[in-house]
Symmetry: C2
Subunit: 390 residues, 2 copies
């Protein structure tokens, strides 16, 4: 498999996309994206936020995906349509109906994704004409415009793709690092493929991929009301891949997009990978890594390029994972500054000048490993998230 140029959701054959300006954002930049699957297959799968407070478009899209088919996805930035009550759900429904009418498909074949402020109704008088505009702009090279239109506080748009020598492609786009994006919240991802894959296999590949990619991005510990990751297959390549090979391609695209999300997290100056090794179970490795990734004190220390391993240990100590506190080893950028729960190599040996920082915690309790990506905590993060909606 090879990475080629980044056409995102239109890298795979059988897809058209567009990104237009409906006028939802005060900034006047593009804010509405449409992705259409021209088939012949219309198989689809999705994963959604596990937040019990979830937005109208999440309720809608989860429902329409039950039959494993989608003809189109419409995405808007400039408003999350979360906590907007029955009226908000009607707005989502009307959005899907409008897309369906423009494309000549059924509304239940249209997924809807929204991102922006919670608790504010969408301006439907702008959104619905925007859909007409987007339908007219659909193009087999529209993937980049679509990726740009779903940006909120993202500084760059994010696309990725993998093409198999067998002639099929997986491509995708993403916005917004986890909940790092503020009231905005939300990670929205659409991945497309022209491989011939049915819905159950799409679902399996997507769940397997998100489990170790998007689910292990934790920039600020906050969970969105709107997170949505969709995978659509057109079958246009007429090639049916082995499931393992296909799943690996989906995983590669998701991992690439997830890494881009962390690299563009709001206010962040460091991208931090927490590697927990030799845990008793993978779940415990994830739990310990996530707990470390959520220590504000540690995130501040890393911002200050301070190899403060005591803050790693104090975070590990709050978990119930199997380990002996007097056996813990911790490395920062490969310098084992903590050995057996105490002072290890000289902390002066640690260089933290680069943007990427790797923290390794060896629990010496088994053979399971897991990694979580996070960011540092900065004054810029505070500024962006305290000034946003006021």
């Amino acid at each position: 498999m090879t990475d080629t140029q980044n056409l995102g959701v239109t890298a795979a054959k059988g897809f058209r996309a567009a990104g237009v300006t409906a006028g939802l954002k005060a900034s006047g930049t593009s804010d509405l994206a449409l992705v259409v699957n021209d088939g012949p297959l219309h198989a689809a799968a999705g994963v959604f936020t596990s937040n019990r407070v979830h937005a109208a478009p999440v309720k809608w899209s989860r429902q329409v995906l039950k039959d494993g088919e989608l003809a189109a996805v419409v995405l808007n930035s400039g408003g999350a349509n979360a906590c907007t009550g029955p009226e908000g759900f009607q707005d989502t429904h009307a959005t899907a109906e409008k897309v369906a009418a423009e494309l000549g498909v059924g509304a239940i074949e249209v997924a809807v994704c929204s991102t922006g402020l919670i608790g504010v109704r969408l301006p439907m008088d702008k959104l619905l004409p925007g859909i007409e505009q987007a339908a007219k702009a659909l193009s087999s090279t529209g993937g980049e415009a679509a990726a740009i239109a779903i940006k909120t506080t993202d500084t760059v748009h994010k696309t990725a793709q993998v093409t198999s020598p067998a002639g099929w492609t997986v491509g995708g786009m993403a916005k917004g690092a986890g909940m790092l994006a503020p009231g905005l919240a939300t990670m929205l991802v659409v991945v497309t493929t022209d491989a011939v894959v049915e819905a159950p296999q799409l679902d399996a590949a997507l769940r397997d991929a998100t489990r170790t990619t998007f689910d292990r991005v934790d920039s600020d510990g906050c969970m969105s009301t709107n997170d949505t990751v969709l995978l659509l297959a057109s079958g246009a390549s007429e090639v049916a891949p082995e499931q393992a090979e296909f799943a690996e391609a989906v995983r590669a695209v998701c991992a690439n997009l997830a890494r881009q999300l962390i690299g563009d997290a709001e206010g962040a100056s460091k991208d931090i990978r927490i590697d927990v090794v030799n845990a008793a179970t993978e779940d415990e490795a994830v739990d310990v890594a996530r707990t470390i990734s959520r220590s504000n004190l540690l995130k501040c220390a890393i911002h200050g390029e301070d190899p403060n391993w005591g803050r790693v240990l104090s975070a590990i100590g709050t978990t119930s994972a199997a380990f002996d506190p007097d056996q813990l080893d911790v490395a920062i950028n490969n310098v084992w500054v903590c050995r057996n729960g105490g002072v290890g190599e000289d902390r002066e040996l640690v260089s933290m000048k680069g943007r990427e920082v790797v923290i390794t915690a060896d629990l010496k309790a088994g053979r399971a490993d897991a990694s979580i990506w996070t960011n540092d905590l900065t004054a810029d993060y505070v500024h962006e998230n305290s000034a946003y909606s006021s």
Copy 2:
């Protein structure tokens, strides 16, 4: 009961205290406190951090408290003595032995508390002479000097007291808001009383008090390796109170000190009380309040005086507590900005100019309530915690 002047740990009869400069801190301010119980009773109880990575003084003090007796407590700022291995434990032991020799008591009657950087050995060549100095300086009015000597990044020292009309007193001192204090970490609290109360009753009163006071202070979600709260009884008033009345006095002193900790949290500009009402159980109320209190996005919004109720709802939605997302009400400073999971009263009605902010979440799932105190997230917090040990 009445609040009078703040003599802290020497407000109750039968106690002497001192605070001196042993030279542990680069700043040259006082750093060693000694509290002595002259009896006739020497009953004591303690609660400690639940962090599995805990410091040598926590291991020591937990051990010596098993018999329910203490003659003295020695506390140092300028070093946590955590993650310092067997040598660190020997340092704690030598500290207790030195105090015991100076006072003519047994080392197992001496509790030790430390606060400061993790992973650094204490300079015993300074600490031990400091103990001699402190023993000489002991005074029945030394409570304030002791409270000053345990400060780390605290901007003010913290004492509280309650005197019963029956003639007995509970007084105490505290330092460092939860883990808000940085690598420093740590809340250290010593409460004394001249009431005639045996160890089991002290223990019951202390656990009851900390459960709803110190345990509900969560300034930045981080748990220390060194947290220690001790309660010592001298019996010098010769009055044996009713348990309920005594427990209420201990709770009042702990609540007062806990509120002072939040009010002096590092870098904070707001003190935030999260009230969760009408939860199914008290545990669920605490869980929801704590989850809200740990949302960095919400803490940033409050710093920006932005009544961003969407961030409250998105935090509540991550819990497993009983509630219907479409029934949630949220008030900010008594304005119900969210009703039934959607837009409520006009957010423009909310004033957040004051330092204290109250967020109320009504789960409509039962009759249990709980409150957690937290702080906002500020650029000053980031600065203090990224610059500290580098």
